[in-house]
Structure formats: structure tokens, C-alpha cells
Symmetry: C3
Subunit: 319 residues, 3 copies
């Protein structure tokens, strides 16, 4: 499948390594547009991009919204309380109704895995999964790949790159999407977490597993820290915040043991004092704000790939 | 009164049959625009359309918002809690203040009948009534007329058309506006409801009344189902949901007795299992999603009619 | 400092009289634009203006939003609950993250004095203070100056103009900014308030003080009424609403004692029956709606001054 001809972006699973490379190259063009004095092109003028977030996320919604506007699409946001979708029929009616007003793409976030895929049955619009349950968050994985690719100068792939993903792997859609994307590009991925926060059936995953962050640090090219969900503490799946920080948090001592070129990444928002104990401003290798900046460009590439008519983007300027 | 020169759209009462025909013909042009690759014209560029919804309705607000954007107007939405309008003065101050920022049209929804009309005294902007109490919802009636006109190929009027409106007529602004519009275009309208849900003074209405839906079904051209408001049950104005469905709900058995060309319509959102028991996807005659699609085009026609400068819309394209 | 080259607008304190005059002259151009059939120019096309309101204010937010759109900037609104900024780190993360998506200006309102200034350290974007604690509200002062300048035909300054500011001076950012701006332009300002609502160290302020509104009325050119905050009553800093109205409210009797040319101003929203007892529609000298209208033009001037590239605005029209 070439993403240029794909209709939806539901999962990294649906993309080949070539597909990912193609989207990252398209992102290069978007970064160039974003550096112009007027960072806008008419590529998606008249297209209607609707974000439908059943879980709140100002950060991700804003990133998609900015991306759509830079391509001159019209945007609309629906904040939907999850109460209105207790019945599948009701969700279907909502989608069919909004679709009937004329929608080209839905950007969907939902607390249940698989909902974006389900929605593809009820509309002719393109669906972009902006996070579904513990399942997938494909644009996060693509922006993470793009950040590593540019910061570590790895345009041809991630062969031999050592990446550790640290934290609550079990409940993380970011981890699932990142593992697939990093591995597809050739990286060696190690998951680092207490046993209670690892998924039960890891034998399918193209990863190594470790419970000892400290022994890995000097050899890492990328240290990827997940957000600790405080509610997991209440479920007794995590030790105290203090113990978690002691074992898995990025302290100044741990930061000092990273290689000079190593990147520190985080999907945000950060829990200061828990998974990040050192100020990121003091981390020469922090790529966290690059991730945010690249998020807009990657989402422009995804929307253009799904909705664009295949014109030459480089020759476009805003009239 | 020709709507081309009218300043406000407050009630179907203010429109002649010619006015309605004129707006429906204008809607034809809007439908053509909506089918273009870039469904947008600069007709209302620089105009400021403000929606002021004192009752929440994402569906109607979005429809107006989409309509305004397709005509290149700027849009702003105010969600106002009804608490802030306990005093008439406060509502007046709100309107005068927003107006002073430069507003060309207010789209108003309010729980009290007559508020949109009241507001015309306090602003130079055009007022579009998007639903006031039990009184009027004129754009709903126009989109319903447009849907019947196109689906049943009735460009010259509704003479001889048999339309039944079923449900809580008494508390329905949709029913009031629809009855006036359908009758103005020549249709024969029958209201079907339990006596507790009929208005007290029906002798003024150009309608027949029936309590027996089943006997009407085979002769109908349009079966228009109203939304059942669950709060009416609490007021003991309605029997149980189950009883209501049994007497007035659209079941598969009832759907089978409709003529093949008959339309099923509903203003949305639907109460599945109450007024609609059969899946609309299984109804060949369902016009419910057409209503939503036509809603955008009709609202474009209304906004253009009130705010446009009378240029030839057909020659406009987005530069 | 010339505002044409300033990066931020944090306080009237940072502006010279020449700076203020320059911004008011720029506002003249914006008023001309706002009177065009299409009140829009492409001056800030591609610029991203983000409003970040930690205190709710639909009125001020909408005014900035309208101003940005008339200059063709893109706009985004974040309503932030104050709970998420208990820690300075968290506010910093929020600012850095939104900035990383590509922001040209933040419009900030915050309950704590000094926050807009603090934020300048964390972003390359321009900061416009839209009200911080009891400290400053500079665009309010500029729109008040512009209103007096045009209504009283005082293009060259306010020398000899007599202005009384009445109400809760102590807790008012509007009063602080207005006093500085009015005095910088040469006006003679008198503060009128009960002693409990005056700031403790008034000797630094370029003002006279009075507790007797009635004796001042016949000589005033401008009567500026502040909004009474009902919560001050609970703090026992104010007598009852009734007593306040009796001593400081604008009654019909007091209005009759104003000079025919005198202006009545108020930053809004008004507490009817408290600081304004007479209907403003009955006040020939009310400039309250002019303030609102001028607010949009002044904010256009401020945004253009901070973000514009210095092109000749007068020759711009929307293509």
C-alpha cells in the first residue's frame, strides 16, 4: 500500500517501511513551507477537516488544526462527551449526520481501541486515528520517526540505532505505534518497565525487554520516556511516584551517563518530578520541543497525502 | 415581501409562497457550489456571522457555520448559558456589545419564543432565527421543503402532496414552521398525535388532525416524524416510550405499508427505539441525511439572501 | 521606545506619549479599514495569533479575535483552567509546547500580575497583555484614549482635560493603565472612591483624589465608571450595593449635572443598578459602545505594530 493512495491512517501496522519513508520525505516539504514568511499553501482549499475528540487533548487537536489551516483547509472541532456514545447507533448517527454536511476527513480520538476503524464504515470521509484506547497513535509515531531522522541525520533508515522506550508500555498507544515504526525502519528497540506495566504477550513484538534502565544508558541513541498515568498508581500497578522516579525517572545523574549525541524524547505532557526529574532545558539532547514542532509538519503530510490531489506542493504558494 | 430585500428571517409566517420558491431556487445554486471540487465562493467575504446559541445545538450551529464559511464569511460562536439572560437588560447589553465589534448577522437560538424578534430592536445586524421556544425554526422548514422538492421532483409546488407530521406537535417549533411552509406550497398536511400533544387552538392551522397513524400510511407522500422529548414523559403528557412506539413509532411493519415513493423525514437527532424503531439504512425512502445535507445549502441561500450584495452567484469562483 | 519596533505590549508604563500617539494614529487607519465594504486586509496573512485566557472574558477575547481576523491572521483560542498553572514549570511547559507549533503572538490574560512579562522569557513570540491581576490592561487604556481623542476631537493630546475615574481603583488594572495613559497625554485625572477602595501608596500616582463625586460633576470632560466587583462586597470593602449606588452610581440626577459635551465611559460589562442606574441609551454622552467598536481597531493597530512587516497599510486591500 502506498500512503499516497491510502484513504485512511488508522495504524502504523498498515504502513510498509517505504510508506513511512514516503511520508517522512513529504514532511520535509512541509517543514520548508513552515519556514516561509507566510507558512501557508492552498493545497487543501475547500476541504473540510473535522476533529472529533471523545477524549480531550488540546495539544493533539491544536496540532492537527494548525496543520489543516496551513494547507488552507477549513476546520471544525467537536468536543464530544463520551456519555453520548454509549450506544453504537448513536455514534453512527453522529458520524452520518456530520458527514452529510460535507466532511473530507475526520480526525478521531476515542478511549476505545478500534473506534476509528469502525467509523470508516459509516462515512466516505478519510479517517485519521489521533489515538484510540491502548491501540494506536500513528501520527505520534511518524513525528517521532521524523524527529529521530532529522536530529540524528538518519535519512536512509534506523539500522543499528538503539532506542529504549521507558514506562507504562502496557497501557500506551504511543509505545505500540512507536515500536512498530521504529522497528520497521530498522532500529533495535528495548522496552524498559516494571513487569506490571508490560503487556502480557510480548513474544510477538520486535523488541528486547529490560527492567534495568541504568545498564542501558551509555549505549542508547534515543531514550524515549512515556508519560506516567497517575491513575495507574491507584490501581497498584505502579509503586509510588517516588519509587518510580528512583528506578525509571530521568535524573541529572542518569542524563550525565547518556552519550553526547543521544536524544531524550517524550510524547508530552510531562510529569515533572516523576518521569523527568531534570529540567529539559538542561538537557543538550532534548528533542521534546522538536517533536511538537515536527508534529505539525507530519500532520500536514498525512492530511495532504490522504486528501491532496497529487499536485506539486513545492510550486505552491499562497496567492 | 421579497426575501431578496428582507433583512431578517424570523418566521415562515413572514414569507409568501413566492418568497419560499425564490429561496429554494437560490438553494439550487448553492447545491451546485457544494458539488464543486472547491465548494466555496467569495460572496460574503469580510462579512461577520455570529452564532449566539442560548440553547445548545451542535448540529444546527455547525450547519450554519459551514454555510457561512462556504460563502467565505468570518464566523464566531458564542455559547451562552441561559443564566446570563435572566434580565432583559443583560441580553440587550450582550447584543449591543457584540454588535459594536462589527456584526453583519446574528444566528440566534433561544428557549423563549420571540427573542430573535426582540433582538432586532437592538442591532443593525440581520437576525436569523435558528429556533425560538415552541415558536419557529424557519431554516428547518426551508430545508424540509427543499428536500421534498428535490426528492419528489416538485419544483412547481406541493399541490396535492399528502404529508403527515407525527409526534409532539404542541411543543414543536419544527411542526409550526413546517405546517406553514408545506401549506404555503400547497400540500395537504395531517397532524398525528395523542390529544395531549396537540396545541389547544388548532382551528387556525391549515391542517387535518388524526390520532390513527396506521390508516394514513398507504396514502402518504411524506411521513415526517418529530423527535420525542423525554422530559414530556415526566410531565405525564406522554404514555411510556413503549406505548408511544407502539402507536406512533416507525416500525418495520409500518414502513412496509408506505408507498414506494414515500419519504421518511426527521429533524434529528433521532431517538432510536422510540419514534424510529426500524434502521433508517433499511428505509429506501429515508430522506433524513438529505435533510442534513440540504440544511447547509438552504442556510447558504438564507445568508446570501440577507447579506449578499446581489451579484451573480453563478459566475463566482474562489480565486 | 517606538512601538513600531517593540516586540511586546505589557504595560502602558513601557510607552512614551509619542508611542501612544503613534498607536492612535495607526488606529485611524484601522478604523478606515473597518468602514470598507470588505473590512479586511492581508497584512498579517500566515501569522498565528493565539489567545491564552487563564481568566474567562468572552468580550476581550472576541475583540482580539476579530482584530486578528481583519488583518488575515490565523487565530486559536485556549481556555485554560487556572488549576493547571499552579506550578510555574507547568505554565512554562504549556507556553513552550504551544510555541513549538509556531506562534507569532500570544494574547494573555491571567489573574496574577506579571505573568505576561514572565512568559516573554519562554517564547520568541510577541506577548500582548490582555489583563494581568490588578496590574495592567494596556489595550483597554489605548482604546479609552482613542475614544476620548475622537469623541472630544483631541488629536493633539489631552492637555487640560478633566477626567474622573470612579469606583474600585484599588483592585482595577483598568484604572492603573488608564491613569498612566491619560496622564501621559496631559489630562488632569481625579480618582473618586471610598477610602477602602483606594490603593495604599497613591503619592506616586499623577492624580488628584476625591471622595465627593457630586462636587466634581459639572467640570468633568469624561466620567469613567469602573465595574463594581460584587465579591468586594463580601470582603466588607464596600458598603451595600444600595449605598454604593447612592454615593457613586450614575443616576439620572447626576447625569443631568454633567456638561453637555461630557463623555460617560465604562470598560464593561456593566452592573446595571449599581454603578450605572440610568439607561445608557438615555445618556447623550455615552461613549460605551464606541469603546467596544474602537477596541477592535486599537487591537488591530497593536497586532500590526508588533507583527507587521512595516508595509504601507493604506494601499492594502484584500485580493
Amino acid at each position: 500500500m502506498s500512503p499516497r493512495h491510502a484513504k485512511h491512517l488508522l495504524s502504523i501496522d498498515d504502513l510498509t517501511a517505504d510508506d513511512i519513508h514516503h511520508l517522512l520525505e513529504l514532511t520535509d516539504h512541509m517543514v520548508e513551507i513552515n519556514h516561509r514568511p507566510i507558512p501557508k499553501v492552498p493545497a487543501l482549499r475547500g476541504k473540510n477537516v473535522v476533529s472529533l475528540f471523545f477524549e480531550d487533548s488540546t495539544r493533539t487537536r491544536t496540532s492537527f488544526d494548525t496543520a489543516a489551516k496551513r494547507l488552507s483547509a477549513d476546520t471544525m472541532n467537536f468536543a464530544v462527551s463520551s456519555s453520548s456514545v454509549n450506544k453504537g447507533e448513536s455514534l453512527r448517527d453522529t458520524i452520518e449526520t456530520i458527514s452529510a454536511m460535507g466532511v473530507d476527513a475526520f480526525v478521531i480520538r476515542h478511549k476505545s481501541s478500534g473506534v476509528p476503524g469502525l467509523i470508516t464504515r459509516w462515512t466516505d470521509a478519510s479517517i485519521v486515528n489521533a489515538g484510540d484506547g491502548w491501540h494506536q497513535h500513528p501520527t505520534q509515531a511518524l513525528l517521532d520517526c521524523y524527529t529521530i531522522r532529522t536530529r540524528l541525520n538518519r535519512r536512509d533508515g534506523f539500522d543499528g540505532l538503539r532506542i529504549a522506550i521507558v514506562g507504562d508500555i502496557k497501557h500506551s498507544r504511543v509505545a505500540r505505534s512507536d515500536v512498530q515504526a521504529f522497528a520497521a525502519l530498522g532500529a533495535h528497540v528495548t522496552l524498559v518497565a516494571p513487569p506490571t506495566l508490560l503487556p502480557p504477550a510480548l513474544h510477538d513484538w520486535p523488541v528486547a525487554v529490560s527492567h534495568d534502565l541504568d545498564s542501558l544508558l551509555p549505549d542508547l541513541d534515543v531514550l524515549y520516556l512515556l508519560r506516567v498515568q497517575r491513575e495507574r498508581m491507584d490501581d497498584a500497578l505502579l509503586p509510588s511516584m517516588h519509587e518510580y522516579s528512583a528506578m525509571y525517572g530521568l535524573t541529572a545523574a542518569r542524563a550525565a551517563r547518556l552519550a553526547p549525541h543521544a536524544l531524550v524524547m517524550h510524547p508530552g505532557p510531562m510529569n515533572r518530578g516523576v518521569e523527568i526529574v531534570v529540567d529539559p532545558a538542561d538537557l543538550p539532547g532534548s528533542a521534546i520541543l522538536d517533536q511538537v514542532t515536527n508534529g505539525v509538519a507530519v500532520r500536514m503530510a498525512v492530511l495532504f497525502s490522504l486528501l491532496g490531489t497529487g499536485g506539486d506542493l513545492r510550486s505552491e504558494t499562497l496567492s
